[in-house]
């Protein structure tokens, strides 16, 4: 079947317990005792997190709590100074080859889209598959068109990013990341630079992606999204993971006082 996301659905949903020969789901991300400083400023403090394959995690927290910094450490856009980060059995160290290996398997979507303005939508999507994965151009373009169809903008393939709306650009950015066939997708506030009427079209794409069994880490303040798709919600404050719970529990019965305060503020709007 020519539908890339459905294929993933089948492999991951049909055999959830067979992914590891020990019987439990394999951990695709392991963060152990991770610290990070910006100069003297201690941004991330002793973070521990394991993410199983196919798990969908939403990270929230007040501004400046280190959410972006944290998920950017996972593909080493930022380096950590202490502790361990292991992604798909590769530990992130100074070794450039290991970093490149991890980045090939981890797609990222940014708040400000960061599409390449000098390339068309299709070229944006094909760039990395062609140059990094060494996929023949024809094949890469066919795959890119499939993903552009999934995000519902195949008709914009030959336009330049500057000619698209914000919501369309963000969907292209998602398609571009997916074209690398990543095992993990990171989202850093993908909807917070968008006008309200465009948020939904991006969230719809993300919800569909979540349904396909993709491992997702998503920094967002869209609590509706967290409730519908997240397996776990993580609340960060002051560089620490304060609370970690399934969404139902997180929203109805938060344990920590800081979480309660944050939820009150956010739900008040």
């Amino acid at each position: 079947m020519g539908n890339p996301m459905t294929e993933q659905t089948q492999t991951s949903n049909a055999t959830p317990s067979e992914q590891d020969n020990t019987g439990k789901k394999s951990d695709i991300i392991r963060v152990e005792g991770m610290h990070k400083w910006y100069g003297d400023f201690h941004v991330l403090k002793d973070l521990n997190l394991t993410v199983a394959q196919g798990e969908r995690i939403v990270i929230c927290g007040p501004s400046g709590s280190g959410k972006s910094t944290f998920i950017r450490c996972i593909n080493r856009l930022e380096e950590h100074q202490q502790g361990k980060i292991i992604v798909d059995d590769v530990e992130l160290t100074d070794d450039v080859r290991q970093i490149d290996t991890v980045r090939r398997e981890v797609g990222m979507v940014f708040q400000h889209f960061n599409l390449f303005p000098h390339l068309t939508v299709l070229e944006n999507c094909c760039l990395s598959p062609i140059w990094v994965r060494k996929i023949p151009r024809k094949e890469a373009e066919a795959t890119a068109m499939e993903y552009l169809e999934r995000v519902k903008i195949p008709d914009q393939a030959l336009k330049y990013p500057g000619q698209l709306s914000g919501g369309q650009q963000q969907r292209v950015a998602i398609a571009r990341a997916l074209c690398m066939k990543p095992k993990i997708m990171l989202f850093d506030e993908p909807t917070s630079a968008l006008d309200p009427e465009m948020i939904k079209e991006v969230l719809d794409v993300m919800i569909e992606l979540a349904g396909s069994g993709m491992t997702m880490l998503c920094v967002t303040h869209e609590m509706g999204f967290a409730k519908t798709v997240a397996d776990r919600v993580i609340f960060m404050d002051g560089g620490e993971i304060v609370e970690e719970a399934p969404p139902h529990e997180f929203f109805t019965n938060p344990r920590e006082a800081r979480t309660q305060k944050f939820l009150q503020q956010i739900l008040a709007h």
Binding site: D100, F116, H118, L127, Y160, P161
Partner: protein
């Protein structure tokens, strides 16, 4: 729909109305118009007379220049020297062939719909210098050797400018990348290189290249004065080029670097496919400015005894056989430079327009 067929109101002005609106709208505007008009009338006429109507085009030598205007005879009689320098007459076809190739590669660049002009341009930057490398000096393929001391005139100017331009761009790119590198040694070396070369006048560089460099080179190693001048000009200009390009690199938002990193492109592909195409496009005016100044700076090789087009004219106007032809000579030189520099400028404007993908982001 009715609205969709509506056109914006036409604003056609009669010439008289146009003049009243643009040239005589206020009393000071009118005064300025009259003053400029007076200057034009009194200067353009005599200028045209000198350049064309009273100029001398036919004859054999200085004695045939009897008219009151310019003695263009001087240019046409010595044209061979101005173009080829001392390049032997019977071998000048080699230079002509290069001129022809140059025209084939670059003239189509000005014609929007010329088929395959991109490939011609690529040929101009790769095949053409290689052919020139064998054809002009000779010595291989049974071609008779022509010492570089015999090269001169416009041909020498073009060789200096062409190689300078072709080499200073990639060196400048590497230096700019080096200066922004995270590796301290590479960054340090780039900074030192750029700051040293930029702080030295080109004349000094040329003197050093022709006088001092041989003193430092080991015994027996001696490469030609022309090659030394060329290296000096190229390195000097690449320091400028590096700073122009660095400006472009700095203007690229951090998100572009991060997106390229997140896609796993790695350093060279990130730079080559994402960052440099945008950065270079942004600084085309600065790059072209550097090219044009390099083109004109090649005249300075005069002082180390190389005869570029200015040098050949300079040495001829002092020839006792031709009296009072200095103005004609310099006008000719100015015209040569103007043609090429204007061409470079026009081409860059074409390029800018073509590369503009109209982004709002």
């Amino acid at each position: 729909m009715a609205e969709s067929t509506m056109k914006p109101p036409k604003k056609a002005l009669s010439p008289v109305k146009w003049m009243r609106e643009h040239l005589f709208s206020t009393w000071y505007n009118a005064l300025l118009t009259l003053a400029v008009g007076y200057l034009l009338v009194t200067s353009v006429g005599p200028l045209l007379n000198w350049l064309l109507f009273e100029a001398n085009f036919q004859g054999q030598d200085a004695s045939d220049c009897t008219g009151a205007g310019a003695c263009w005879l001087f240019i046409s009689q010595r044209l061979n020297f101005f173009i080829y320098g001392f390049y032997p007459d019977e071998l000048q076809w080699r230079v002509d062939a290069m001129f022809l190739l140059l025209a084939i590669a670059f003239v189509p660049q000005f014609i929007e719909r010329f088929p395959g002009r991109k490939w011609l341009g690529i040929f101009g930057m790769t095949g053409l210098p290689i052919i020139g490398y064998f054809l002009i000096p000779g010595g291989t393929f049974g071609l008779e050797v022509v010492e570089s001391t015999k090269w001169g005139g416009l041909m020498l100017t073009l060789i200096l400018a062409y190689i300078g331009i072709l080499a200073s761009l990639p060196i400048g790119i590497l230096l700019a990348l080096g200066r922004r590198s995270e590796m301290p040694i590479i960054r340090g070396l780039s900074v030192v290189f750029i700051e040293v070369w930029r702080a030295v006048p080109l004349i000094t560089v040329l003197f050093m290249a022709s006088v001092m460099l041989p003193l430092f080179l080991p015994e027996g190693v001696n490469f030609e004065k022309l090659a030394r001048a060329l290296i000096g000009i190229t390195l000097w200009q690449s320091a400028y080029m590096a700073e122009v390009i660095r400006g472009g690199l700095q203007a690229i938002p951090r998100g572009q670097y991060e997106a390229a990193d997140a896609l796993g492109l790695g350093y060279w592909r990130k730079m080559g496919l994402v960052i440099l195409p945008q950065a270079l496009k942004m600084v085309i005016p600065g790059i072209v400015n550097t090219f044009i100044s390099l083109f004109k700076d090649t005249t300075l090789v005069l002082i180390i005894g190389l005869f570029d087009v200015l040098g050949t004219v300079q040495s001829t106007v002092t020839d006792p056989a031709w009296q009072n032809v200095a103005i004609e000579g310099y006008v000719f030189v100015a015209f040569c430079f103007w043609v090429f520099c204007f061409g470079i400028s026009r081409y860059s404007q074409n390029l800018e327009r073509k590369l503009d993908t109209g982004h709002k982001t």
